[in-house]
């Protein structure tokens, strides 16, 4: 038995099967699990008052983060691929936010976007724009989280930059001789060439959105003024549950409400959704010839 099989079994197959089993039980983390059949699944889709809110919030973040992150990273990478002098400095500056710990980044953003004392509203005020409530407004809290995710999208930018620099220059030269404009060159040369990497970036961003947790917990706790990131959890999802994501609700159910059976049910659903996107990724990569067929 090769070593990877052991690792695969212990760290993937066993936890997965255990989670599937626990999803059909009532399990409080201490007592033995008790088989309850599909009760947790029924509760999830019919009675949980917050699961749909969490699904809506996560869906929003998946869509916004994927479009925004890939778009921002691609635009940044295209600009950086053209920079000749000081390219190393600019690449470092764009990549650096990706290295910031999520908790520190979330704290900094809540400070920057503080409605009363934050510099963002002060700058807006110079232009006569009335400051917004950002993380304290249920309508703006998710867009603010999205901006935070964009700021930290350096790793996607680096991958796309590498792909862009890999596009053979002869293609552009030939297209230019044929009279192709910059948009045409981008559409017919750049995009098809970097498509596999772009696909990876999209799926990676979808998974980041599906698993969005730390930044949302910290930003909600700090913006509420409570400083109680954990504990009773009454401020979880502040303001008005607008930042309550699916993984956050899963964690709250499992570790604070001691409903690990139900949390496992939620984990299975999240796994299935993530798996669907992963299958799409693999198929797309295979289609574009990025991976070898088995």
């Amino acid at each position: 038995m090769s070593p990877w099989i052991i690792g695969f079994g212990v760290f993937f197959v066993y936890p997965l099967l255990a989670t599937v089993f626990l999803s059909f039980t009532s399990y409080d983390l201490i007592s033995d699990p008790i088989w309850v059949g599909v009760k947790n699944y029924v509760f999830m889709f019919t009675s949980d008052p917050l699961v749909w809110t969490a699904i809506r919030n996560t869906t929003y973040l998946v869509v916004a983060i994927t479009i925004g992150r890939v778009g921002y990273a691609l635009a940044s990478a295209m600009v950086l691929s053209k920079v000749r002098r000081g390219s190393g400095v600019f690449r470092t500056l764009f990549y650096l936010p990706a290295l910031a710990p999520p908790v520190a980044a979330a704290l900094a953003f809540v400070f920057l976007f503080n409605p009363g004392t934050g510099p963002v509203n002060q700058v807006l005020g110079w232009f006569g724009i009335k400051g917004l409530l950002w993380f304290n407004d249920p309508l703006l809290a998710k867009p603010a989280l999205t901006v935070l995710a964009l700021w930290a999208s350096g790793e996607i930018m680096v991958i796309l930059l590498a792909a862009l620099l890999d596009v053979p220059t002869e293609y552009y030269e030939a297209a230019a001789l044929d009279g192709a404009g910059s948009f045409t060159r981008f559409w017919h040369i750049t995009l098809p060439t970097i498509a596999p990497v772009l696909t990876f970036a999209v799926i990676n961003s979808i998974i980041v959105g599906l698993q969005y947790f730390t930044e949302a917990v910290v930003a909600g706790a700090v913006a509420s003024g409570s400083s109680d990131a954990v504990g009773s959890g009454t401020q979880l999802g502040y303001p008005d549950n607008s930042t309550l994501t699916f993984p956050m609700w899963l964690y709250q159910q499992g570790f604070h409400y001691y409903n690990m059976g139900y949390a496992s049910t939620m984990a299975i659903v999240l796994f299935i959704v993530s798996a669907i996107f992963t299958v799409i990724l693999v198929r797309q990569l295979r289609k574009s010839g990025m991976t070898e067929e088995d």
Binding site: L17, D28, I30, P33, F43, G233, Q235, F255, Y258, G261
Partner: protein, 443 residues
């Protein structure tokens, strides 16, 4: 590969089946562990969530126990929250004694056997529980199972700014909610653009310690009926409370309040808006006196019991009480010595007072709050009286970690932001959600 995967899956399935059937380390059961002899050399492990100066205060108290019992050495580990305690119990590596700051978890700890039942020890050693107020006894037991003892408590009172009171011509703190609303309006000052400069009282649920568990007892709003069912929709105190809250919110304007609270300093930071004079009155725990002493020593403030609903004026003087719990986790190695330490920490005046002085909390026995060694002040003393007041109460314990608080708070937020206008229907719906969530637990 195709042959190996099914084999691996089978093996893994077998592992799951085994792990699902195992019950981990067994609890002590009905047999009580004897107290250790003085010749027994024992090392007790104590876990708590304390850090820094709080942990140092705990360690000083534990050192007092070691002086009395030199054969028992204590290893104290801080920063051990409830997640870590639960993991250790599951993994069979539980400490001998666990201190949790999350009393909401008690229902789960007692019902699952995560913390061992102490009733036998209490009875054997003739511990007098009557020295612990009823409200405190209540939040440290679940359905008659006493799986923990209290270790310091928090209660809540009204903090008021004396200078702002004098400026507004108010001579004494309000005792009823009508008086509170009247004084709040008097104390409020606006900026030229209409925004709030000084808020007399911020009525926003979720802001600082404007928590439902703090507010509800002052309105006689019951969390559960005598049958143990959620009673948000049937206890009239809830509708009274939310109507009052809405009325005061409308006085300020919801948008102005949101702008004010959004710009307010963090609850426990030096720029807390009460400490900076931007809030004239607020509800907070006794621990705030310690924060003011260190962060805003020049603030001229007073403390008093929380106001009550007008029709409950006879109940003035009490509040919600919560606090730390101390227990013996399932799988503890030295149960007898662990109980000896818990008895010392939770029932003896000297250690309780030492710890209370260090943490600026309330010691949890009626004897300890009268101790001359307890460091008190004019602003701390009201909290000692609130603690002993028979009108004080505590949250009910539930097996899902106080999930009802989140449901009720979500409704409150929806109500105060105009997301729902039918108070009665909303409260009844919250009752259903709370009941439904409890049904997730095994029968």
């Amino acid at each position: 590969m195709q042959k190996i995967l099914p084999v691996a899956a089978l093996g893994v399935a077998a592992l799951i089946a085994l792990s699902a059937c195992s019950s981990g380390p067994s609890a002590t059961g009905s047999k009580l562990a004897p107290l250790p002899k003085s010749s027994d050399k024992i090392t007790l492990t104590v876990w708590s969530g304390f850090t820094d100066s709080d942990l140092a205060a705990l360690n000083t108290t534990l050192a007092g126990f070691h002086t009395l019992h030199p054969n028992i050495t204590i290893t104290s580990e801080g920063s051990q929250d409830d997640d870590k305690i639960s993991q250790a119990i599951r993994g069979g590596t539980a400490p001998d004694v666990a201190i949790s700051g999350n009393a909401n978890a008690l229902g789960q700890y007692c019902s699952s056997g995560a913390f061992q039942d102490l009733a036998g020890y209490i009875s054997r050693d003739k511990v007098d529980l009557s020295q612990i107020p009823l409200a405190v006894q209540k939040f440290t037991s679940y359905k008659g199972i006493r799986c923990a003892m209290p270790l310091l408590a928090d209660d809540y009172g009204l903090y008021y700014n004396k200078e702002l009171f004098a400026k507004a011509g108010i001579t004494s703190p309000p005792k009823t909610m009508s008086e509170l609303a009247k004084d709040a309006k008097k104390l409020t000052e606006l900026n030229t653009d209409g925004s709030i400069k000084v808020a007399g009282f911020v009525p926003t649920i979720g802001f600082y310690n404007n928590r439902l568990d703090v507010w509800a007892p002052q309105w006689g709003a019951a969390w559960q009926s005598s049958a143990g069912k959620s009673s948000l929709g049937t206890s009239s105190g809830w509708t009274d409370m939310f109507a009052w809250q809405k009325s005061l919110t409308e006085f300020y304007g919801a948008d102005k309040l949101t702008a004010f609270t959004s710009a307010a300093g963090q609850k426990y930071s030096a720029d807390n808006s009460f400490q900076t004079g931007q809030i004239a009155m607020m509800f907070d725990g006794e621990f705030r006196t310690g924060f003011v002493d260190s962060q805003a020593p020049n603030l001229k403030y007073g403390t008093a019991p929380l106001p009550v609903a007008d029709k409950l004026s006879a109940h003035y003087g009490g509040s919600d009480i919560g606090g730390n719990i101390i227990g013996i986790p399932k799988g503890a190695q030295h149960t007898g010595a662990a109980w000896q330490l818990i008895k010392y920490m939770s029932t003896q005046t000297a250690p309780l007072v030492t710890l209370a002085n260090g943490l600026k909390n309330i010691p949890t026995t009626l004897d300890a709050i009268k101790s001359p060694d307890l460091v008190s002040s004019a602003n701390f003393a009201p909290f000692l009286r609130i603690f002993a007041n028979p009108n004080s109460s505590s949250l009910p314990s539930t097996p899902n970690g106080g999930a009802f608080l989140k449901t009720a708070t979500d409704f409150a937020v929806k109500w105060q932001t105009g997301g729902t206008t039918d108070l009665s229907a909303g409260l009844s719906a919250a009752d259903s959600e709370i009941t439904s969530a409890l049904a997730l637990k095994a029968p």
